[in-house]
């Protein structure tokens, strides 16, 4: 018996179990819940447990939730705010992260390793605590706020002086903390891309008469486009579905979509609507995700993005 089991295992079983275990886990605990959400998005709210119901007759589905998504200003606005906030944060991450990544490739190898570790370190420390750190900085009494206020006051005429700058619970705060939290996601793929670029290409361009600024425009920048897009999407995709940041530092009147989903589910207890909002968000992110997979592979290739 044991021998036969052993034979089966060596022939085919080891292979099948390697595939089957993680596959079935993911189907049961990831795919199935997701299918349930899709199904629920075409149900309606009901006084039941769970608080949903389906239409009694063919085709048993309500599309009202999706219609509300397009027609109800709250949802449209929340999607818009999410995409705009994520877009601005992505752009700012790029503006700050690109020179950082480029600068990192221009120092000695040992220093590169150290800087890389410094970029990765915040990624390992608690996301929640990093957001929390900013709450401490943005409050009206904090040294940071007072510093910004005094800078602002010296720059503006006396009539425009303020006691403090309102930062907490604004969209500005959301964008600032998004940039802060997701900056490493921009720097890492960019660095990986830029570090792989062959520096002799820069030398060749310089040898052919290009000043350093044109070398950057003609060689480095075009060759790092896959890295820019990969980093950009790596920031944009999670930033647009972010929940913690808008909940802690954002304004309740300009919610991002993650917060809407959470509120719809927990406070309003409209599960079907929450599901519909979620499904629509995912559909919005499908395009960027496919693009990410494509460009990430290219950025990894590094050498010839043709």
């Amino acid at each position: 018996m044991l021998k036969r089991l052993d034979a089966w295992f060596n022939k085919k079983g080891w292979r099948d179990s390697i595939i089957a275990l993680p596959y079935s886990w993911l189907i049961l605990f990831f795919l199935l819940p997701f299918i349930i959400v899709i199904v629920m998005s075409v149900a309606h709210r009901a006084n039941a447990s769970p608080p949903i119901g389906f239409k009694d007759a063919w085709p048993f589905i309500y599309l009202d939730n999706y219609i509300r998504l397009g027609s109800d200003w709250i949802y449209v606005r929340a999607y818009a705010i999410s995409l705009i906030n994520a877009g601005i944060a992505t752009f700012l991450c790029l503006v700050l992260g690109y020179p950082m990544a480029l600068g990192m490739t221009r120092v000695s190898k040992e220093r590169q390793r150290m800087l890389l570790m410094l970029v990765i370190l915040p990624f390992w420390t608690s996301f929640l605590l990093r957001v929390y750190a900013w709450i401490g900085l943005m409050g009206t009494n904090s040294w940071f706020n007072r510093l910004l206020t005094s800078i602002y006051n010296t720059l503006t005429p006396a009539g425009f002086n303020v006691d403090s700058i309102p930062m907490m619970n604004t969209n500005f705060a959301v964008i600032l903390v998004l940039v802060y939290s997701y900056l490493p996601f921009m720097v890492l793929p960019l660095y990986a891309n830029l570090e792989k670029l062959d520096f002799t290409l820069n030398e060749a361009a310089m040898d052919l008469g290009s000043r350093p600024s044109s070398v950057f425009r003609d060689i480095t920048l075009p060759l790092s486009i896959p890295g820019i897009i990969a980093g950009g999407l790596l920031v944009f995709i999670p930033a647009s579905g972010e929940l913690i940041i808008p909940s802690l530092v954002g304004s309740a009147s300009d919610p991002m979509i993650g917060r809407v989903i959470s509120d719809e589910f927990a406070s309003v207890r409209d599960w079907p609507m929450a599901s519909a909002v979620a499904v629509a968000l995912l559909l919005l992110l499908v395009g960027p995700t496919i693009a990410y997979n494509y460009f990430e592979a290219k950025a990894q290739g590094g050498k010839s993005p043709t």
Partner: protein, 279 residues
């Protein structure tokens, strides 16, 4: 000739200041005597003392550690298997769906993962009577699902970078596929498995959103506790707690980095010696 301009150095300094000043400021204020968390009132370590006598915090920390240990270990096993399957078996039925399922949790907004897990647990409780209550088990299952795919990504990357001929050599020398896996493949990818475990562990330890949806009464993890307190504002005792967490994590990452660097340096030195011996 690889020179770095003043502009790049300036941005580099600004960028790292941006990344680290908030955390350092938070750490500094954990030693604040004043109850007002943002106004300096002299040096004190009183908040650390209070923290260690706070049963609620200690209990939450223990729960978080237990969940992280269990979920990271199971996630590493499942994630490594998935990585092996994807990297080594190029043809099997449903491979495309499998590959999709492995990447999807990485991109799925946490809110949606959390809500869909919760809904499924509720439905399962309705249909098959399990899980009766939500808590340790449901949180752990959700964490495994979420973090195993990170392990898969790391393991898969290592496997595709690995020289396949080593495995072929083992098979040529008479090893069965299973023995090849056990004797050759797994030892070679073990650093990737270790980093996968560490990543899964920190992800679990840090998670708020998914835990928030899958937890039940009486099961407050440390992040959930902090989350509920932070919503009420900044307090010095959270600063102290945050400082401890950040320092522990930083030391862990630093130690791992040093060990990996040293191993790398030793390998490079050995290679150099071997090269000189031959050349």
């Amino acid at each position: 000739m690889k020179r770095s301009s003043t502009f790049l150095i300036t941005v580099l300094c600004f960028g790292f200041a941006f990344l680290y000043v908030p955390i350092l400021s938070m750490m500094a204020f954990s030693f604040n005597r004043s109850r007002l968390a943002t106004v300096w009132g002299g040096f004190s370590t009183q908040w650390y003392g209070k923290l260690f006598s706070n049963q609620q915090v200690l209990k939450a920390a223990m729960l978080s550690l237990e969940i992280a240990l269990v979920s990271a270990t199971l996630a590493t096993i499942l994630g490594t298997l998935a990585g092996l399957a994807l990297a080594r078996f190029t043809h099997f039925r449903g491979r495309a769906l499998f590959a999709g399922l492995v990447t999807a949790p990485l991109i799925m907004p946490e809110v949606i993962t959390g809500i869909s897990s919760l809904i499924m647990f509720i439905w399962m409780a309705e249909w098959i009577g399990w899980p009766g209550t939500r808590g340790f088990t449901t949180i752990t299952i959700a964490h495994i699902t979420f973090s195993m795919t990170y392990v898969t990504t790391i393991v898969q990357a290592r496997l595709s970078a690995m020289d396949m001929s080593v495995e072929e050599a083992a098979m040529d020398l008479g090893s069965r596929p299973w023995q090849v896996l056990k004797d050759v493949t797994l030892p070679i990818i073990s650093p990737a498995i270790v980093s996968g475990w560490l990543l899964a562990f920190t992800i679990s330890l840090d998670d708020v959103v998914i835990t928030n949806f899958t937890t039940g009464p009486g099961y407050t993890t440390l992040p959930i506790l902090i989350w509920s307190k932070v919503k009420l504002g900044v307090t010095p005792d959270i600063n102290a707690l945050a400082t401890i967490i950040v320092l522990v994590v930083a030391m862990g990452v630093f130690a791992a980095g040093v060990i990996l660097n040293r191993a790398e340096a030793r390998r490079a030195a050995d290679a150099q010696l071997a090269y000189q011996a031959n050349g």
